[in-house]
């Protein structure tokens, strides 16, 4: 195929047209693309050829060969007259050393060969007869020379040294005096590999299209400057209005990220203050708040821990409150309890614990009236075990929160129980024999305060307003002592408190910082806020604020006390053998059960069989009646002043139709002279054997009814019957009926303990229905009845 100038040229002749063979055209294309491989260079050449700017193809995502290919197609379509001839004339003069171009130019008569002959056609075709082209003048800078001039075969003529005159830049390039124009193609274009930095090469493909469009726009603007100015002015005015409106708008700031921080009641006020300081310091570059922190405290005792253990039930938000995103409990004990629930699969809420930022010791806080007295003159020389003894002896009362009221209450209870028992408390240790009675005594000597939210009824005020002989000491945090002394808020005049650090161990409240996540409310923005808050809490300035509120740094480190009469010590106390959070957690559930059981008021009806069989002496010469009288004495030691006790004797029809006589009626035991305890002790010797039968079952029935009349779920009701277990009253209630009475639906439970003198009397057939109905029977003798009574005590106040 031959291509060539196809357009007719006015005044043009045959000899102005070049007929290129396909092979020649291809060669020519390649060489031109090699010689003018940038858009700038190519445009200069096309300017000389006379191709108008708007008719040139866009140099976008093409390589030079492809681009020149498009140009050649336009040539073939007759975009201008004799484009090939003109182009060849230009290129051969700017690249005189290019053999291919030279050959083609000579062959087609664009230039004369050095030998005067035209180059032979490699295909052997005769050379066309043409005149050598005459160089024309400089190309029209505006590109207006697009139409062929009548006196030219086509396109601008080249005149003189085309490189020097028409293309001074090209001449300078050829002479090595100027850098060729740079127009990086695609990054893969080998010609561009050494152009510019890697960043520029990477960015340029993205910028290049905009760059070209901008250049085109510039040319258009140059043609229509008034329109362009009007558009720019309109844009400027619009932007001005926009920014002015934005500036004046009152709500430019976005809505802050919401974060709920659950804090224990003793830290809530402090957390609100530091949270506000954090939010102020964490504004964005517009000065806008980035977060809003809502500080909440549990609305019910232990609420946050329990709710987390239960997976924070949606159906109970009214009582448990909003999901916490950050949780700062008093102690890691609570965190470990939730983690234990996670381990059991009860909940899937993930917790992330960050380093703690504060701490406080659990201390004994004594009013100033007590501090300084013998035994209370050295804050580092008091043991909790000794204080417990004093409390049990009635010298003072211990006040603390219950284990279900707060974590502080749980840790306090653990410390107290350990001091009372004299050994570290573990899960198995809390269920041992005799523990129940010990703990019951202890609970009777302490006051459990549930005054959440009411500082006037709080631990500090209860201790600070107590006076001799009814001093109270409070188990409370060191920080609470500090706060009370700084700003007493008891509503009435109150003493300063002094913190005593027990020698047998000082528990530490470590206030862990826990991020609460999970699919339901985990959120990267919120987590970022939580972490920034934690970082803020660790800053020295924030730590100073925390210390000013009476909290120590993390880990119980020394506290920097600026004031002198704070009531607490700055140095670290000696802490010995205190259970850590893990151990405390392990025993926490059992501890709460033990506490609930120990706290119950005991109501015990001692009932002694005085029938004839109880007066038969054993081998040791002691009658069962005597043994019973002797055993009751120690049993009376199980009950405390708040408990209720009574004493009956029974046989058959001792009081009209009744088989029993109320020697001492059921009532509060009290202590001291004139108390019911004394009444019972005095009544015991008056119990005498009565001849006759034994109305055992009827008496038990009457005793159960009497206990139920005033008992309830909060009392441990029991009937302790000292008997030989023989029921021989004719016509009395049957054991089956009595068993039914014991298990009456909806009736308060009453434990019936039969201490049966005589071997195997508990195996009597008529007793079996009663035992099956829940009564307990133990075969006893005069020598072991006392131990049996101790076991009864454990049964009353032990763990169920």
């Amino acid at each position: 195929m031959r291509s060539g100038e196809s357009a007719a040229r006015p005044g043009g002749g045959e000899r102005s047209r070049i007929q290129l063979s396909a092979e020649e055209r291809l060669d020519f294309l390649r060489e031109v693309a090699r010689a003018y491989r940038t858009e700038a260079a190519a445009n200069i050449v096309l300017e000389a050829v006379g191709i108008p700017v708007e008719r040139r193809p866009a140099w976008q995502n093409v390589n030079p060969e492809q681009w020149w290919g498009e140009v050649f197609q336009d040539f073939d379509a007759g975009i201008v007259a004799s484009p090939y001839r003109t182009l060849m004339g230009v290129v051969v003069r700017t690249h005189p050393g290019n053999e291919t171009l030279h050959r083609l130019a000579v062959r087609h008569g664009v230039i004369k060969s050095e030998g005067g002959d035209e180059a032979p056609d490699p295909a052997g075709r005769p050379a066309p007869a043409t005149d050598p082209i005459t160089p024309a003048g400089p190309a029209d800078a505006t590109g207006a020379a697009t139409a062929a001039r009548p006196d030219e075969p086509g396109g601008p003529e080249l005149d003189g040294d085309p490189a020097a005159v028409t293309f001074p830049r090209l001449a300078a390039e050829a002479a090595g005096e100027a850098e060729p124009p740079r127009f990086p193609g695609r990054p893969s274009d080998p010609a561009d590999e050494d152009d510019g930095s890697p960043l520029r090469r990477w960015l340029w493909p993205w910028i290049a299209p905009l760059w070209r469009q901008a250049k085109k726009l510039r040319r258009k603007v140059q043609k229509r400057p008034k329109v362009a100015i009007a558009v720019v002015v309109l844009l400027a005015i619009s932007m001005g209005f926009f920014f002015y409106y934005e500036e004046q708008s009152d709500d430019r700031c976005g809505i802050p990220t919401e974060l709920v921080l659950s804090a224990s009641a003793d830290t809530a006020d402090l957390m609100r203050e530091v949270a506000e300081d954090f939010v102020k310091s964490d504004r964005d570059h517009h000065g806008c708040r980035r977060e809003h922190i809502q500080v909440v405290s549990p609305s019910v005792a232990g609420g946050t821990t329990k709710a987390l253990e239960d997976g924070w039930p949606s159906e109970d938000l009214r009582s448990v409150g909003p999901y916490p995103h950050v949780w700062i409990p008093s102690s890691s004990v609570d965190v470990n309890r939730v983690k234990a629930a996670i381990g059991k699969g009860n909940t899937d809420i993930p917790l992330t614990t960050l380093p703690s930022v504060m701490s406080s010791y659990l201390v004994l806080a004594a009013p100033s009236g007590l501090a300084g007295q013998p035994g209370w003159d050295d804050p580092s020389a008091v043991s909790l075990a000794a204080v417990v003894k004093q409390a049990e002896n009635g010298a003072l009362r211990i006040v603390r929160e219950g284990p279900e009221t707060s974590t502080e209450g749980l840790v306090s209870t653990m410390a107290l129980y350990q001091a009372a028992v004299g050994a570290p408390l573990t899960r198995s240790g809390l269920s041992g024999g005799g523990i129940g009675a010990t703990l019951h005594r202890l609970e009777q000597a302490t006051i459990t305060s549930d005054g959440i939210g009411d500082p006037e009824r709080g631990l500090g005020c209860q201790a600070a307003t107590s006076t001799a002989p009814d001093f109270k000491v409070a188990l409370m945090s060191e920080q609470a002592v500090f706060a009370h002394n700084k700003t007493p808020s008891c509503g009435v005049p109150s003493d300063q408190l002094t913190a005593f650090y027990p020698t047998d161990g000082v528990p530490l409240l470590d206030y862990p910082f826990v991020m609460v996540g999970g699919r339901r409310w985990g959120n990267p923005k919120r987590e970022a806020v939580a972490r920034r808050l934690h970082d803020f809490l660790e800053l020295p300035e924030t730590q100073s604020s925390i210390a000013a509120a009476g909290f120590r740094p993390a880990g119980g480190a020394p506290i920097d006390l600026s004031a002198s009469d704070t009531g607490i010590q700055s140095e670290v106390p000696q802490a010995k053998d205190q259970p850590g959070p893990a151990e405390t957690t392990d025993a926490a559930d059992e501890l709460e059960k033990a506490w609930r059981s120990a706290r119950r008021q005991a109501r015990v009806l001692f009932t002694i069989d005085v029938s004839g069989s109880m007066a038969v002496s054993g081998l040791d010469g002691v009658t069962p009646l005597d043994a019973a009288r002797q055993a009751i004495g120690p049993a009376l030691g199980l009950v405390r002043g708040d408990d209720q006790i009574g004493l009956w004797e029974f046989a058959t029809r001792l009081d009209g139709d009744r088989d029993y006589v109320e020697k001492v009626g059921l009532g509060t035991a009290d202590t001291g002279s004139g108390s019911r305890l004394d009444d019972i002790r005095q009544a015991l010797p008056t119990l005498h054997r009565e001849n006759g039968d034994t109305g055992l079952f009827d008496t038990i029935g009457a005793g159960v009814a009497a206990l139920r009349a005033q008992g309830g779920a909060t009392t441990a009701d029991a009937m302790v019957v000292f008997t030989d277990a023989i029921n021989d009253k004719p016509g009395g209630t049957s054991p089956d009926r009595l068993a039914g009475q014991l298990n009456l639906p909806g009736a308060p439970p009453v434990r019936v303990f039969l201490l049966a003198f005589g071997e195997a009397n508990c195996s009597r057939p008529d007793l079996q229905p009663l035992l099956a109905g829940g009564a307990t029977c133990e075969n006893v003798s005069s020598t072991d009845v006392g131990k049996a009574v101790e076991r009864v005590g454990s049964g009353l106040w032990g763990i169920h």
């Binding site: 806008c288 809502q294 009214r318 409150g321």
Partner: protein, 436 residues
Amino acid sequence: MPAARMTRLVSVLVLACLLCTFGVAACTSSHRDDDTGPINFAGIADFTDGDQVGKAVAQWNKVHPDQRVTYIEQSESSDEQRSQLVATAQGALDAQEPTECYDVHSLDVMWTAEFAKGNLVVPLGNEARRDGIEEKLFVPAAWDSGRYKKKQWAVPFLINVPLLFYRKDILDAEKLPPPTSLKDMIAKITLVNQRRAAGGQNPIGGFGGQFARYEGLTVNALEIVRALGGDITADPHQPISDESHVQEAFRQLVSALAEGGWIPREALTYQEQSSREAFVNGQLLFMRNWPYAYKLLTAANSPMAGKVGVVALPWPEVFGGHNLAVSSCSKHQSTAWSFISYLTTDPGVQSAMLRDGGYPPVLKAAYNPRRDEFTKAISQALTGKQNAVSRPVTPYYAAVSDVIQDEVSHVLRDHLAPADAVEHLNTRLPPALHGK
């Protein structure tokens, strides 16, 4: 490729992008008719007698078993309620995987701006109008509380106007009428306790408002400060008008809470329920509370039955209320709008809210000339617009209220002098009003 061809191609691409953008926007603002299904309703804590909100939900579920509504009662504290709603909505917006979404929010009237600006709720569109929600049905003030930047974002559900409850038995025994102003009330408290002391009786606590550190404190503080001549946040550019009156108001409140004052110190822990409990237990002569308390106080089994009187709050009042909005995260917005329409326009539901909850109706048609004491009190409160105290309408209301609670709480607990509190409010409120 020729330049002209390239230009045409670019133009077509730009036009296509614009069409897509508007088309997507159009698609997200309207919903298909089959956009129905089960939804979550994060609702106000139900204080009504007989759990009327719960009953309304149960009735809906009975009729629409395939569009079941799960009623999630929020905390009684409005601050905590707001936190839960905002945190959940933000979590749903930001989540890349399914998370909890409350399809219908019950929003305090002060939260409309925040939820709208945060794109946490969607505005009313044709869907809502098809469900019968129209402006002309509602009390204008209630409807306006659901607007922000000329768009309607929420539909009125409950109106709340503060009322003054008093021990009618005690005042009648002393032959005293109900108070007609704050000063009149203070005088009556003093007089009653003087007479009780003379008769060997223990004094009775005077006035119980909501002074715990939460939104209730903001409301009560605004009311009493206005009653004593000052104003807080009347103007965003001048948050404290007449500083001397505001200082004096704070001083009077501090004095009231001191020994022998007309506000018992326990009131510093009162929210709505605890103040009502104190009143029921005979610890208060007067109580400021919302209308819901009337039903509970006058119920047949209430210890205060027959002993309670009620009047409109005889000093400037802050209106409250709750509106319902559809969450941006809701996948069943058709159901959500239908449910909202049911709760807000169904005469049976609104009647139950009034009858058993004491909530004034949001529907104009529900007002009739009943003349009982309770309705009179509500009507007086609603029509006394000149007495209304406005809380600032701002998307950053939570921060604004925090500042007020903070400063007023410190003053009332004697931790801050009144003059310092006023200075702090002047400094802290302007940036808080603008989210800074």
